[in-house]
């Protein structure tokens, strides 16, 4: 394989995550720059805005907190464009934020023009469920951002594909789970798009069940604060090996499983005491919401995850992860299926569950839970791992893609791969 000295310097990757925008050229090494994937539309009549030298209509990057005004402003002025992975075609503000972030990213790494720089090879990544119009609009954004020749060529790849590349596995199933949704994506040198399965369930749903548990335990006032609920979830939530057995064990020895969380810097402490068995509901709900124990929560008004259509994709609400993986793999050629089961990669913050050593046997981590769910479906011989460097694996994959794919592999709207040349 021939190496490309130019791209050893001028490959650039952009990962538009649900919360963070990770970006930078190959020369960043292992760690890209990270800013929030959001933009702020300031009130131009405000004297604070006019006093600073801001000429932009949108503020992105590290400066956003400097411009935030009262909390009432946030809902309309502070936009997180990729919260659900998909941007509505007509959501102009969200697209403007994406445009501003792209330009901010490129501006942050302006090479010396005397060094022979003729534009970056830019690789951006989007959610695997992004419809075609998102690719079209993103390409248009890069075209419009290229007035000074900073982009030589651009391409867009799906995030799970980038994860597989970054992890160094050419045949695998990548399962991405974030705040709003999850996707199961088989990869075999290419993304197998026809076999993807999407779930309308993510970390936000774990927050919802945590909120209900807090209300039941007498913490109704805390249950409405989203940031606090998330911290409680991360602190006390557990994934059970078997829900019924784990609950029984927790009820038998409540002290061993006691769930306590003290809010830092305050006197507020959450203590589930004899109801600490409920911490297993939090983890179970993410992986399998079908247990009858959750019916009472639905009956009391907790929203049941529904099947929804976003873009071209149907997101299943109540499908458990085991069924989702089986459904996805069984859409692939039979010869490929065993190889796919042997390499299952978990990516995304919603898989960051820990199993404390003293609770071994009752509480498990995410890879173990997936193995158990597949075992229940009759699938053995599986290997499930977390991605190494989960925060940056997409960006890593984009950099490798941008470095290695030949310059003359042109963009094709059928396969949604290849280089779109913008200059040179």
């Amino acid at each position: 394989m021939s190496t490309d000295g130019y791209r050893g310097h001028y490959t650039f990757a952009m990962d538009f995550g649900t919360s963070d925008f990770k970006f930078g050229p190959i020369t960043c090494g292992d760690t890209p720059r990270v800013v929030n994937n959001r933009g702020y539309f300031p009130d131009k009549n405000s004297v604070v805005y006019r006093a600073f030298e801001a000429t932009s209509d949108i503020i992105v990057g590290e400066d956003v907190p400097l411009y935030l005004q009262s909390s009432e402003d946030l809902s309309s002025r502070l936009i997180y464009p990729m919260r659900n992975g998909v941007i509505d075609k007509g959501d102009q503000n969200a697209w403007r934020v994406v445009h501003a972030l792209s330009e901010f990213g490129l501006r942050s790494f302006k090479p010396d023009p005397n060094n022979g720089f003729q534009g970056y090879y830019v690789v951006a990544s989007l959610s695997s469920v992004s419809p075609r119009y998102m690719y079209e609009q993103l390409m248009e954004i890069f075209r419009n951002s290229n007035s000074n020749g900073s982009i030589r060529a651009v391409t867009v790849i799906p995030q799970p594909f980038a994860v597989a590349i970054g992890h160094g596995v050419t045949t695998c199933v990548v399962i991405e789970s974030g705040h709003g949704n999850s996707q199961v994506c088989p990869i075999s040198k290419y993304p197998i798009r026809t076999a993807q399965v999407a779930l309308n369930r993510g970390g936000g749903d774990a927050n919802a069940i945590t909120s209900e548990i807090l209300k039941d335990a007498g913490y109704a006032d805390l249950a409405n604060e989203e940031a606090l609920v998330r911290r409680v979830k991360e602190s006390i939530g557990l994934v059970p090996a078997d829900l019924e057995q784990s609950i029984q064990e927790a009820k038998r020895t409540p002290r061993k499983f006691r769930a306590r969380y003290k809010v830092p810097g305050t006197r507020i402490e959450v203590d589930l005491e004899k109801d600490s068995w409920a911490r297993f509901l939090i983890g179970e709900y993410v992986f399998n919401p079908n247990h009858e124990i959750f019916q009472s929560y639905f009956g009391r008004g907790m929203p049941r995850p529904k099947d929804v259509k976003m873009g071209d994709t149907v997101f299943r609400g109540m499908l458990d992860f085991g069924d989702a993986i089986v459904a996805s793999v069984e859409r692939c050629p039979v010869e490929l299926q065993p190889m796919l089961y042997r390499e299952i990669l978990l990516s995304g913050g919603n898989f960051s569950w820990t199993a404390p050593e003293r609770l071994e046997g009752s509480a498990v981590d995410a890879p173990t839970k997936i193995k158990l769910l597949l075992r229940d479906k009759g699938i053995r011989n599986v290997s499930v791992k977390m991605t190494k460097a989960p925060q940056f694996s997409v960006w890593h994959g984009c950099i490798i893609y941008g470095f290695a794919v030949p310059d003359d592999y042109g963009w094709d709207w059928q396969r949604l791969e290849g280089w779109m040349k913008l200059s040179g």
């Binding site: 394989m1 021939s2 190496t3 490309d4 000295g5 130019y6 050893g8 310097h9 190959i26 960043c28 090494g29 292992d30 009549n45 004297v47 604070v48 006019r50 006093a51 600073f52 030298e53 801001a54 907190p65 400097l66 935030l68 005004q69 009262s70 023009p113 060094n115 022979g116 003729q118 000074n148 020749g149 597989a164 590349i165 970054g166 160094g168 596995v169 050419t170 040198k189 290419y190 197998i192 798009r193 026809t194 076999a195 692939c332 050629p333 460097a389 890593h396 994959g397 950099i399 490798i400 893609y401 470095f403 290695a404 794919v405 030949p406 592999y409 396969r415 290849g418 200059s423 040179g424």
Partner: protein, 199 residues
């Protein structure tokens, strides 16, 4: 352009005197230790009010604690802006209303039409110069980055140029490149005999 610092007006309360565009703004700053002294607060606010004829907008900037002690509507009733700050941010709790600049109005009314006309001409020339400088800046930048006019020999040399400057591969690739099979797989994109396996 952002705010420009201006010389404080005589007898103005301590703070910031700014020029923003065409407007003059005075921000009186009330320090945290003054909040316990009601007379000090009144003194600063009254001092602000005396500036009404000289500036476009007047603001009081104080710690967020003040916001809990005083009804902000009082400020808006008198056209005084209120900025509340803490360690992390500044918030415009009450926007200021524009004041009547009596002196400026009198100056305009009593001025020589010839001088006004000359001022306007100078203003137009200034904006024209700004536009020209901006255009020159863009031209210079694109000259630095634009490829030479195309013809076959030049295109070849343009293709060769990056290689001439970068005949050596990057000396240190990131750690995630090590033993990564995708480098080989991706380098064959478009050169494989078969198409994608599926999808």
């Amino acid at each position: 352009m952002g705010a420009q610092s201006a010389d404080p007006l005589p007898n103005s309360p301590p703070g910031l005197s700014l020029i923003i565009g065409q407007e003059r703004v005075h921000v009186a700053v009330l320090k945290s230790d003054s909040l316990a002294q009601p007379n000090r607060i009144v003194d600063v606010i009254l001092g602000l009010c005396t500036l009404r004829g000289s500036v476009s907008q007047i603001y009081l900037a104080a710690s967020k604690l003040l916001g809990t002690a005083i009804d902000a509507n009082i400020f808006s009733a008198h056209g005084i802006g209120l900025l509340l700050f803490d360690d992390r941010r500044i918030e415009e709790a009450v926007p200021a209303q524009a004041t009547r600049l009596e002196r400026e109005v009198a100056a305009v009314q009593g001025s020589d039409p010839a001088i006004v006309s000359e001022l306007q001409a100078l203003k137009s020339m200034y904006y024209e110069m700004e536009r020209t400088i901006s255009r020159l800046r863009e031209d210079l930048y694109s000259l630095r980055n634009t490829n030479p006019p195309t013809s076959l020999p030049r295109e070849n040399s343009r293709v060769i140029e990056p290689q001439r400057l970068y005949t050596e591969p990057a000396t240190e690739l990131p750690s995630f490149f090590v033993n990564n099979p995708w480098l080989e797989v991706l380098s064959r994109r478009g050169r494989e005999e078969n198409g994608p396996l599926a999808g």
